[in-house]
Assembly symmetry: C2
Homo-oligomer: 432 residues x 2
């Protein structure tokens, strides 16, 4: 096989269905619970908060779910994304491992988040919803949802974790340019935000707080629904297009991954690249390892407890069975703001408990140094979140070198870091 740098999939080969791993899991996850009754949550109880079809996907056990034509047309603006042989990185590491990455940074908003923002906006618009709320950590999800809502004529309010709002000023301009309204969270716009500010005016916020605010506004605004960019089953479902494309692209090379690696915040990009390959472990006897790269500052899968917990700080969401650090956990102000979520979600947590996926922690500085190496070898400056995956991939490639083993490593480049350059400046100036 000739060494190819970029493996392009023709548009005609783009997947037309998402893959739902719920159909194939050996142990079904425990159900979400209504926090008041502690009874399994019914779909109709979620419908005041989420669009109907998204709720249906949340509970679906169908193995494959059709991607609507209108969604497919918009996804084709940037998909299929390239699979790239990281030959520059391989050379720098002098490793016998073959390293591939799926380049989700080519989306016009710079990350994989658009993969779910488009269908979420679509299903809400189709139902006649006019207003949307959401939260965002690093701003990747908020940016993606802003342009998706703009496309479908939906009004959007984004609650952005205050720490990120201040650290990543360019992100909020992206959202505003795309027509989104952005509030630093905790904000004065919701009762929950005002209560927090009354107690702690300097509170820097968290994803959990921002979710509480967005949920409150969605429930109190007529014709409004809430959306989430990770954690939930329907979000992971939409993201499987990453792995489904990667599977077809790897077929073109003749390789199959021994290890699949992605950073882990709420699970959206990790699940997206992993589940289509994990299916073959479950059904076809493949032995691929699936490795989540968590920040050492927020190690929910690696060091959290498997238990029922809330998805938000205020305790407004259903109870979710998940690996969690506690819904009031306040992670350190690391630069990978998109990984600062306390819990792992229903599906991923069950897979972890069943030993079907693994998790590892990465220190911030190691992650960013791996990102710097990658940018010089491959020409793309990665998002701080994605650098965690790169660091773990580098570590595995070096292990392969020690062992003299030619293995195939696939990682997901979830986004670029062009709006996180202040972080790289601190690294270059020795201030991290």
């Amino acid at each position: 096989m000739k060494l190819t740098k970029k493996i392009t999939l023709p548009e005609s080969e783009m997947p037309r269905q998402w893959y739902n791993i719920l159909a194939d899991m050996p142990n079904a996850p425990q159900p979400l619970l209504n926090p008041k009754t502690r009874q399994p949550l019914k779909p109709e109880e979620m419908e005041p908060l989420f669009a109907k079809e998204l709720v249906a996907q949340e509970f679906s056990k169908e193995r494959f779910i059709d991607i609507p034509d209108e969604v497919l047309t918009l996804l084709k603006i940037y998909r299929p994304t390239p699979l790239v042989r990281a030959s520059g990185l391989e050379k720098a590491l002098d490793t016998p491992a073959k390293i591939y990455f799926k380049n989700e940074s080519v989306s016009p908003v710079g990350s994989h988040k658009l993969n779910s923002a488009i269908p979420q906006a679509y299903y809400n618009a189709k139902q006649g919803i006019k207003h949307i709320t959401t939260e965002t950590g690093a701003g990747q999800w908020g940016s993606a949802l802003s342009i998706a809502c703009q496309h479908f004529g939906l009004d959007l309010n984004v609650f952005m974790v205050k720490n990120s709002y201040n650290l990543k000023p360019y992100r909020k301009i992206v959202m505003r340019t795309y027509g989104g309204q952005v509030h630093a969270s905790p904000s004065n716009v919701t009762k929950f935000g005002r209560d927090i500010l009354a107690k702690d005016p300097d509170c820097q916020g968290s994803l959990g707080i921002a979710i509480s605010e967005a949920v409150e506004m969605a429930l109190e605004t007529p014709n409004c629904r809430y959306t989430l960019g990770s954690v939930l089953n329907h979000v992971l479902l939409h993201q499987t297009i990453i792995g489904l494309e990667a599977e077809k692209q790897l077929e073109l090379t003749g390789d199959y991954p021994d290890k699949v690696i992605a950073c882990f915040g709420g699970g959206s990009n990790f699940s997206g690249i992993s589940f289509p390959f994990l299916r073959h472990n479950l059904k076809d006897g493949k032995k691929t390892r699936f490795m989540a790269a968590e920040p050492a500052a927020c190690p929910k899968l690696t060091k959290g407890k498997m238990e029922y917990d809330f998805g938000d700080t205020a305790g407004m969401t259903p109870l979710i069975p998940m690996y969690t650090l506690g819904h009031d956990f306040q992670p350190a102000q690391i630069h990978a703001a998109g990984l600062r979520y306390h819990g792992g979600g229903q599906i991923v947590s069950q897979l972890k408990q069943d030993g079907l996926i693994e998790s590892y922690t990465v220190e911030q500085k190691d992650a960013l140094n791996a990102g710097l190496l990658f940018s010089r070898c491959e020409g793309i400056i990665p998002a701080p979140e994605s650098t965690h995956a790169i660091a773990l991939a580098v570590q595995e490639a070096l292990k392969a070198k020690e062992a003299g083993k030619e293995e195939v490593i696939l990682f997901n480049l979830s986004g670029h870091g062009l709006l996180d350059l202040a972080t790289y400046e601190m690294l270059l100036d020795g201030k991290l």
Copy 2:
């Protein structure tokens, strides 16, 4: 023909030669002159400053010049770039015109500049050169050259116009991340810079000054050459890959452009998209119009004089026959820093004089408002430079609507604006 949003060219169809318009011009441009003797400049006089093969390309009359394999391999990291039917913009304008844009913003550095940075670094490395200098306005060229030099193991010093250095702090971090050394120009690193600072410590710099500094350093450093990201014939040559690809992609749609539009700074992206189509005007009787969009603050083609002038402020370069505002012209501090150059280059100026291309001026605010509209319709936030092309394309599409005329407009999206978001924030806040 089915409406297709993105027209992808298979990698196997990528052009393997650049197109040299010098072979087909009805009137050859006047020669460059040695400023001391005022005699036509000989290739060997340029070789202390530029790599030999680049000098050969500068003087070549060959119609097609082979792209070296090593260059092609690197270009394939992001090429062929997509041609996109701007159906969102068409809908917003309710125009019968078909609008296409070539999306050069997908390059990992965010602009078309990498198309010439890769071959320039390649030819220098091949010759055994170790050190490179250059200047950069908006930072797009400096970013592209930084990663290209990193790839070929070349050391790079970039002189960045001080106004941009301060207005666009993220750009210098990109260059540093890729391993380039960046100096705010005028700097203390060169005699010319020190002289200017002695007279005017607050001087905000210009491309002309930055070129003088880079040339001085190149001439005084052993085993060092200078590089330029626009204006010169060999740069325009490298950029023709844009138009050559677009030509093949339009063939797939059955359309042919009535108007080709690009922003104009020194001519690199304008020439890149125009020349391959202009060839068919010159040889095959096509009647396409080629429209350069200049900033009203720096209208060299529209309001400059055709005469011999220096390429830099200090008067260190050869004399160039070109439309110029004067080599000491200090344009206003507009946000499209990449368009703040005083002259039009040898080839483009001759074409303009012969009536084969046209130029138009665009006011900054009109340009950026067109950019805002585009970002909401097409999902991509354009570079301030590129918004000039968008504004002219919008204007022409609205004229077509008035005339009820179905015409085909092709413009070049030279880069994205993710590192220019402060400009968009000023626009959104009504501060422009």
